[in-house]
Structure formats: structure tokens, C-alpha cells
Symmetry: C2
Subunit: 420 residues, 2 copies
């Protein structure tokens, strides 16, 4: 039982700072050994993980948590195997730390380059999924950062059980166990300390629902890498291949509903709307997607609700889709840039000029041509794994992988050079 | 006279948003034409600039501004020529916008790359130097951003006169004059609007003294690219070439005093301190630099003040230097990482292993070997020009040039690809 949370968090922060110096200069070999040893420790702890998780599940049921939350909280043997597999995948990724680029001799004679280095101490604040503990620890470790992980109070036993496996992995590899610290109290003051103390952590990454992320962003004096709404669009141009358009519109909406890169609004050029919409509407109906349209699309597909201004600005995360007929590319891009969340937007067109304009002028973290918005993902982009998808513009934009957890410093080498 | 500042700034913000879309897609040719036309307009307006500046100087004298402030405020024909030259230099720099890198085909068949794009609307808040108006406008324009510039109230006439030249340049090149807006009120509520309204600007860059930067950072809900202290160190290793060490220690401190990349603390290895310090002390004395030392350095050089713990953490920006004798590289790096401001630190050594360790383990935006700290500068690094030197870790670290005013978005190209 931790009585003085402030003192505890100060201690955690000081340990993390010292550990950050160590992990920053650790070689890839020992980082990978630690990750593989963690995976093994997790696989050898299935029984303990399941039984500790059962305590959280029982407490959750007693507290009346809803079914979706209980599902996210649950650690099955399959999910535990998935955690171990995730750790092995991170071990297999290239190490971003230490890369020196843009090296050149300057007219003064000094040599200047940029070296990729860790950020320092990363604070992760997350909700009920205990697998985030292993995922986040792995990405922070591989990128040379110390981490302070603070999971949801409803998952405290599960998270502490995962933390034990992480500790064992670090020890096996001869690394300082303070490199990954899982906060051992459910006291909310611990979160306040992480957000309010610039000396404790260098960056905060909240992982969870929108309300968590908004709360963390509002309260934090530390920089936050955050991911807010994904109001993604597909625009079907009048020069689209309509078979591709149909497939992309269906896939972007129905491949998965509760994800940030699912399409929430479909824009259709007026010249092809009568051909495209009835077939799409039939397929959406079959999959149980509720459609909400503007006046023109409702003129084509009869049984649609009316889309309000609020619909254009809503991330449904559900089998609901708003549809709007537009006159041209300009109207489509204006709608996307105004109502969208600058996450991911796709144009379907065979016209290379319009594709170029869409890629250039749509102000989103991912802009696509003839591809499903569902591709906006760290794995699909080749980052290997992602800690989230940033909708910010500064630092990291779009899927954030290992590189997004690093920064670059300038290195300068002279032979006694002075400024004249 | 602007009565309703909130309404005025809202209008400014809306104009900037529209202008940002235009300048984001402007080609390099028209941006460069605008910059060159601004330079010409400035050269043709020397009389007007000097006479408008005279109003600010007169008001400043009446208000009792100190001599240093009045000097920074003054626009001489030489300084005006310098402004025009700066605009031409920015025109000559390569355009960072639109560059596509890391393009590759993924296993799924989609093609993924990253496109460099402007940040959007940049707010600059600065103090008395009117030349910042031209500098900042040029860097924001070239990097494809709209800008809202808010200078100090003591420079209002000068800044408005420079703004006229900027407007003429934009018009000559056929660009929207709202791409650069110089706030026409000295009401402090305008700053509050820029810092407090996330929809007005995408990033704030304060330029000026530490108190301005601290105030802006504390009050801003918008991301800030900031530059705080420069507590820079030189460490003279026992394997240093002592002639190089002497030259670098003198140059780093005395080349200019009031700059962020001047050395504030000298660390000397105990094995060479008796050889190095007396000669350095003599040369510093000749240049009028006051020395403050720890016990061991005071044992070698008699007439030194005692350095307190506060000295190690102070950016003097003046002919004052603190000196400490250390036992080895580890003690030096510990001191630098603990007391420094993570700005610029240099080791003098001929030992390649120690040089490598210093470069890797010192956590500063610029780490140097055998070079004066005074090289930490956008021009010296080949960025062409800088809007500041960031001591933050996220987004931009070290000198911030055109690239630091941009971000990258993912571009994805398929041929009807969907997720399976």
C-alpha cells in the first residue's frame, strides 16, 4: 500500500531518469535479449496471468463494468500468446537509435550531422487493456527510452502480473529493472504527478478512448503525442473506376467499425452518384450499416435518414455512414478539410491530375489514392508496430512507430575549429 | 484604431486559414518572386522606414527605455539593407515543400511515402527588433505557411512600415496579401487570442528574451517551438591538444557574450588543469571576463571568486565564466547533463573513444568535438537561416530552419486496394 503518492511518483521519476541514461546507450543486442526474455517470461506465466486477471474481472463484474469493457480487460491464453508474439516482433525491428544522417563538411571546415537519440522518459497512460503494458514497454525499450506506465485501476492485478514478466526479462538481459516501471498504485494523484511535473517525463502518450485523451491533453504541462478523432472520408470522383470505388467504399466502412481509420463520410461526385449509390446502399443495408444522407443522395436512395451538420463532424465508430453528393473535386476537398479530423482521406479516381491535387491539398496525416482508408496503420506502412496514430502536426504525424519515439541531435566534429 | 480586439483577431485568423491553403500549394517560383519583390520594396522605402522608426525611437526615449532596448529598436540604413539581403538569402534557399521520401511498395501492394508539407498558420510573438518582421515573414512564406506576426508595442510604427513592404511584395508576385499579416494593434489581448485559441494558429514561435518565452510557453494552449537557456559547456579532456583547447575555450566564451551558444561553464580535467588554467585565466583577464571557480580551480588560479551551485545553473550572457576541475569524462558528462540546458556542449580531446562517448551520451541539441560552441547556428549548419534554436526535444531540436517549419504526411497510392 502506497500512502504518499507524490513521494512515490518522485521516486519513480528519479529512477526513470537514471535508467533512461542507461537504456539510451544500451546496444541493440541487449535490448533484444530483454524483449525475447520478456516474451518467454510471459509464456511461462500463463497460469499466473490468467489468475491475476480473474481478480480484475471479478472486481469489474462486481463494480458493474459493461460487457465491452470486461472483454477488453480479459486475458485469455490466446491473448497472452499474442502479447509474447508482439514482443518478439518488436525485437525483430531495426533499432532506430544512433543512426547518423545528413553528415556533411561545411565551408568553415566543421563536419555536421544528425544523430537519432531517444526522447528520454516516456509516460504512457492507458485504460483497461492489459496487453498495452507489454506493447508500450517494448516500443519504449527498443527506442532507447525509459518508461513509466500507468494503466487503468480496473486492470491493476493484470498489469502488475505483466510487469513482473517485464522485470524478469530486463534482469535476464542484465538491464536496469527501472527501465520499465509500472505504477503500482491506482491512486489518481499518480496521473496528476505524471502530467503536472515536467521533470518526471519528457512526453506523455495517452492510449484509450477520446475522453481519456482529451482529459490528459487538457491537464498536461508535458508534451503529449495524441490521437483524437478519425473522421475519415472516401471521395468517389467522376473519373473513378466504379468497381474499385465500390470495393473501397465497402471496405473502408465495413472491414471494422470501431477503428479510427474506418470511413465515416462518403463523398460522391454528382455525375456518378446515380450509378454508384444504389448498389452501395444495397450492400451497406445487407451489412446492417445505417445510412444518413444529404438531400441529393436521399433523392437517389430513398430510405435514408437526413444527415445533419453534426453528422459531418462525427466519428461514429459504428455501422453508421453519412453520404454527401458533391459537384467536383474542390467541393469534396473543402468538405474534407473543413469537417474532417485530418486523419485519413482517400480519393478514388483514374485521373492522375486529380489524384495529385488530392494528395497535395488535403491536409491529413494520411492521404490516399485508390486505396481503403483501413490501410492507415503502422504495420501496413512498414513501421513494424505503432504506439498510436498522431493527429497532431508537430513531431509525429500519422502512425507513430519506433522513430516517433526518438528525436535527433546535431553532432559537430572539428579539429580545433573556432568562429572567426 | 481597433476597438474589438477579439473580433479583429478572429478575422485575422480566418484570413490566415484561407491564405494558408493558397500558400501551401504555391510553387517555389512565385514564393521567390514575392521574397525578391519584398527586398526591393524595402530598399525603396529606406526614408519611410527610417522616419516611421524615428517615431518609435522618440516614443521609446520618452517612455525611458534603456539604451540596449533603443539600440535593438533602431533601423539604420545599414540594418535596412541587411533586412533586404536576408530576404534574398531566403529566396535562394531550396524549397522544402512537396519533397516525397521513403517511398516504397508494401507487401500488400500499396505504395507508401512521406510528403513534406507546411504546418499551416504560424504565430510569431517577438520583441523590439523590427527586422524580425521581415525575417520571420520570409521563413514562414518560403516554407509554405501563412503567418501572423505580433511585434512589440514599442516597435509598432516600424513594424507596420515593414509590413507595407511585405504586402507590396506579395501583391507583386500575385499572392494573397493575407499570407503574412502583421497585427496592427498593440493591445495585449491580441497575444492572448493567439495563445488561447487553437483554431487561430498551428504553432507559436516566441522570439525574444527568456521572460517573453517563459510567459508565452506558460500561457499557450497552442504548441510552442521555444528556445530557453543556453548554458553551454566546454570540457577540456586530459587527452586534449592543449592549443586547440585554449583557442576553443577563448572563442566559445569571448567571441560574443550575449548569445545563447556562448560557453558559460568550462570543465577541465584535473590532469591538465595546472597547465591549462593559468594561461586561460590570463587571457580571460585581458578580455575582462570575470572568473568564478570551484575549490580546485581556485587552488590553481588565485584571484577567482567562488562559484556557487547557482553559478553552474546560470546563463550569464555576459563576460562571466564559471570553471570547475573534474576527475574524468564521466564527472564532466554528469555535470553537463545535470546543470546544462541541453543546448550545446563541446569536448576537446584527441581520444576517439572519449569523443564518441561524449557525442553519444551528452543529451544536448548540439554535441561537439574539438569545435567552438559558437558554431551552433543555422547558417553554420547549412540550414541557410534559422527562426530560432529549439531546446525542446519534440519536433525540432537545435537550430530551426525551413524544414522545422514543415511536417510530413503519409501518401498512399493503390489501384483499388482493400484490406483483407
Amino acid at each position: 500500500m502506497i500512502n504518499d503518492v507524490i513521494a512515490y511518483m518522485t521516486e519513480v521519476g528519479q529512477r526513470a531518469r537514471r535508467a533512461a541514461t542507461e537504456i539510451a546507450r544500451a546496444d541493440s543486442g541487449s535490448k533484444n535479449r530483454a524483449l525475447l526474455a520478456m516474451a518467454e517470461a510471459i509464456e511461462n506465466s500463463v497460469d499466473n496471468l490468467v489468475s491475476e486477471n480473474a481478480k480484475d474481472l471479478a472486481a469489474g463484474k462486481e463494480k458493474g463494468l459493461d460487457a465491452a469493457l470486461l472483454d477488453r480487460l480479459e486475458l485469455t491464453p490466446d491473448r497472452i500468446a499474442g502479447m509474447a508474439e508482439g514482443l518478439r516482433q518488436v525485437a525483430a525491428l531495426p533499432d532506430p537509435v544512433g543512426e547518423i544522417t545528413q553528415r556533411s563538411f561545411r565551408p568553415s571546415g566543421i563536419e555536421v550531422g544528425k544523430m537519432r537519440v531517444p526522447l528520454g522518459v516516456i509516460g504512457i497512460i492507458y485504460e483497461s487493456r492489459p496487453n498495452v503494458t507489454a506493447d508500450a514497454a517494448a516500443l519504449c525499450l527498443k527506442s532507447g527510452n525509459a518508461s513509466i506506465l500507468r494503466g487503468g485501476s480496473e486492470a491493476i492485478h493484470s498489469n502488475q502480473a505483466v510487469a513482473e514478466c517485464i522485470q524478469r526479462g530486463l534482469e535476464t538481459a542484465g538491464l536496469n529493472p527501472d527501465i520499465v516501471q509500472v505504477v503500482a498504485t491506482t491512486d489518481r494523484a499518480a496521473v496528476g504527478e505524471m502530467l503536472g511535473n515536467q521533470h518526471l517525463v519528457d512526453v506523455i502518450i495517452p492510449r484509450g478512448g477520446k475522453s481519456l485523451i482529451e482529459r490528459v491533453s487538457a491537464d498536461s504541462v508535458v508534451p503529449v503525442i495524441k490521437h483524437l478523432d478519425g473522421i475519415c472520408h472516401v471521395y468517389i470522383d467522376d473519373r473513378a473506376d466504379l468497381d474499385k470505388a465500390h470495393a473501397i467504399a465497402i471496405n473502408s466502412k465495413t472491414h471494422r467499425y470501431g477503428v479510427c481509420n474506418a470511413m465515416e463520410t462518403l463523398l460522391v461526385n454528382a455525375a456518378v452518384a446515380e450509378e454508384v449509390l444504389p448498389k452501395l446502399a444495397a450492400d451497406y443495408a445487407e451489412k446492417g450499416v445505417q445510412l444518413r444522407g444529404d438531400q441529393r443522395s436521399r433523392g437517389i436512395v430513398g430510405d435514408m435518414l437526413e444527415a445533419t451538420d453534426e453528422d459531418w463532424a462525427t466519428e461514429y465508430l459504428a455501422p453508421v455512414l453519412s453520404i454527401k453528393v458533391v459537384d467536383d473535386l474542390d467541393e469534396a476537398m473543402e468538405h474534407v478539410n473543413y469537417y474532417g479530423s485530418h486523419h485519413t482521406d482517400s480519393i478514388v479516381t483514374e485521373d492522375i491530375g486529380r489524384a495529385r491535387r488530392f494528395l497535395r491539398e488535403v491536409d491529413s496525416s494520411s492521404v490516399m489514392v485508390n486505396a481503403s482508408t483501413r490501410f492507415a496503420d503502422g504495420f501496413e506502412y512498414g513501421l513494424g508496430a505503432e504506439i498510436g496514430i498522431s493527429t497532431d502536426k508537430l513531431h509525429a504525424r500519422g502512425p507513430v512507430g519506433l522513430e516517433g519515439l526518438t528525436t535527433q541531435k546535431y553532432v559537430v566534429i572539428g579539429e580545433g575549429h573556432i568562429r572567426v
